[in-house]
């Protein structure tokens, strides 16, 4: 009969093996990891482009039509996906807001890694703005005064 030490050692090794298998099942293995690393590169590219757009906007007071080098704002290092050659898509979404999109392979995993509210995982875009501490102020009108409670269940919370 195996002694206590051998049983404990075997159990630790079995648990470690099961944990590694569960890790593979959860995180997706090296191919998925490679996709996530490529997405990280794309995200860094989008950030560089966004910095360039912000620089141009500060310079001119308005958003540029497209990224382009000026004497005061050097061009971003890359304007296309280095892995697929697909161009990154820049588009103003308002007088002070813009988005830059790329073809992300695992956007939800990137979202978890970044923990950044500027990343729209569903659309695969970086959202940014300039000269406004509240990016949502122009696109989202300020909330109207509270209407009457939608249901009786809401009423007690408002009176506290």
């Amino acid at each position: 009969m195996a002694d206590r030490k051998t049983v404990a050692m075997s159990a630790i090794c079995v648990l470690a093996g099961l944990a590694v298998l569960a890790g593979f099942a959860t995180s997706g293995g090296p191919i998925q990891a490679r996709k996530e690393n490529r997405d990280m590169t794309r995200w860094e590219d989008l950030q560089q482009i966004s910095l360039h757009i912000a620089c141009r906007a500060d310079e001119a007071g308005t958003l540029p039509d497209a990224p382009a080098e000026t004497p005061g704002c050097p061009a971003p290092p890359r304007m296309a996906d280095p892995y697929t050659d697909a161009p990154y898509l820049y588009a103003p979404t308002g007088p002070r807001h813009w988005r830059i999109c790329a073809g992300f392979e695992r956007p939800q995993a990137l979202k978890a890694r970044l923990m950044n509210t500027r990343f729209d995982a569903e659309a695969g875009c970086l959202l940014d703005s300039f000269g406004d501490p509240h990016p949502d102020a122009e696109t989202d009108p300020p909330p109207a005064p509270d209407p009457a409670p939608a249901s009786p269940l809401d009423a007690p919370a408002r009176t506290r």
């Binding site: 030490k5 404990a8 648990l15 995180s27 998925q32």
Partner: protein, 205 residues
């Protein structure tokens, strides 16, 4: 327990000079040695007719064994740590927090997987090496280094289990004892319990 060399030398000389054990014990008691110290010092020598006092086996320190047991200790610590770390992340993925703003990332998970893939075989091989050596030479079980590492590990395990229990009870009292936290506490207790079981016999050897 390692003995004071002056005490050991004195007992050796006294026994060699033909003094009675009771007389030696009384002299040691008068000098302030405790009952346990006197008993261990006297039991360390065996009297055989026609021979000087014969030393009995006692704990020893070996630099070579410090490397082996140190590596075994570190390997076990790494395995236990990353087993818990990876287990916690898997639990977070299986039982996600509905209030979490962002999903669980997998970067740290891969680091723990890499550590486990490397250190688990190292731990198993070193354990096998130590077990074979101990079977060939039972005297190795008297290694002080081995006992010290076992003592430190048992201390860490005991503190971990107590801390785990406190956290679980606190979460229960605070109304935050979710299935996710319960699963993590259980995993921690199982790992700490296994490590404790692994080293428990070392202190008895």
């Amino acid at each position: 327990m390692a003995q004071n060399s002056e005490l050991t030398d004195f007992v050796n000389a006294a026994l060699g000079a033909g003094h009675d054990r009771d007389d030696i014990a009384r002299a040691l008691a008068d000098a302030g040695w405790s009952e346990r110290e006197r008993r261990e010092a006297l039991e360390g020598w065996q009297m055989v007719a026609g021979l000087p006092p014969v030393p009995r086996p006692r704990a020893y320190v070996s630099a070579r064994e410090a490397v082996i047991y140190g590596l075994l200790f570190i390997a076990l610590c790494v395995v236990a740590w990353h087993l818990c770390s990876l287990g916690f992340r898997v639990i977070d993925a299986v039982l996600p927090d509905p209030a979490a703003l962002y999903p669980q990332g997998s970067g740290g998970m891969r680091w723990s997987m890499a550590a486990l893939i490397v250190f688990t075989p190292v731990f198993a091989l070193l354990n096998r090496h130590v077990a074979i050596q101990a079977a060939q030479d039972p005297g190795r079980r008297r290694s002080l280094v081995r006992r010290w590492f076992a003592s430190v590990t048992l201390l860490i395990c005991a503190l971990t289990l107590l801390g785990d229990l406190v956290l679980t009870l606190y979460s229960f009292l605070d109304g935050e004892l979710t299935p996710r936290l319960l699963a993590k506490s259980l995993l921690l207790a199982v790992v700490a319990g296994l490590v404790l079981a692994y080293y428990r016999d070392e202190l008895d050897g």
